[in-house]
């Protein structure tokens, strides 16, 4: 199991690194093919992504809709800026909570390493108002339950 590292960079960025035991091609596909994205980009326990639009081309649209199974949910929209298969994705995204949050510029790199792929994702650190709105989605609830469920399934 590889450990994810999340750090801040300067005042305005967050950098996430994570190692995967799979080729950059597979990790890239899991980030751009809706049928694959819907299996993992879900957040807390009980959440699903019934709508996943992902047009993986420059200018292509992104729309993810999440539901918590209890009548609540929110969605995210975005656009692709640059794609270099299978090594780099640049896109812009914003959450609708329900008001749109300021644009988050995200650059994701997939570099081959000895064990598979090292992913590096660099994004905008949201402002205080956006952070509060994000926490209010209930993102933090059910995390412990999620780990229990993960143990049960796998």
């Amino acid at each position: 199991m590889s450990k994810m590292v999340l750090t801040t960079e300067g005042d305005r960025h967050v950098v996430v690194t994570r190692q995967f035991a799979a080729s950059p091609e597979l990790v890239y596909r899991a980030h751009t093919e809706p049928a694959l994205i819907q299996k993992w980009l879900l957040g807390p326990d009980g959440w699903t992504m019934p709508v996943c639009i992902n047009e993986a081309k420059p200018g292509g649209r992104i729309r993810y809709e999440w539901q918590d199974g209890k009548g609540s949910g929110f969605h995210l929209t975005g656009e692709y800026v640059e794609l270099v298969p299978f090594s780099k994705i640049v896109h812009v995204e914003r959450m609708h909570l329900p008001d749109p949050t300021p644009d988050n510029h995200v650059e994701t790199r997939f570099d081959a390493d000895a064990r598979g792929t090292l992913m590096t994702m660099r994004m905008t650190l949201p402002n205080a108002q956006t952070r509060t709105a994000m926490l209010a989605t209930g993102m933090e609830h059910g995390m412990e339950a999620s780990y229990v469920r993960l143990e049960k399934i796998f």
Partner: protein, 83 residues
Amino acid sequence: MELADPFEMTQPAVSRHLKVLEGAGLITRRVDGAKRPCRLDNRGIKAIEQWLAVMHKALARNYDRLDNVLADLQRATSKGEPP
């Protein structure tokens, strides 16, 4: 006033810096006669730390799930099936 003394900066310039720190929740200022004493306030830092911790959990959870998606893809690929 006293805060500005050690700096080669005008007092109004120091005030502007303090205003930014106050807006970010890193210091608090109160009025004491003609003085505006400042105190360090870690609420701003705590709020960011809380968000980072929640974000860390949410992302780590997603990527643990992605490990399993990738393992399935690899199994399908090695069997020669369309993944």
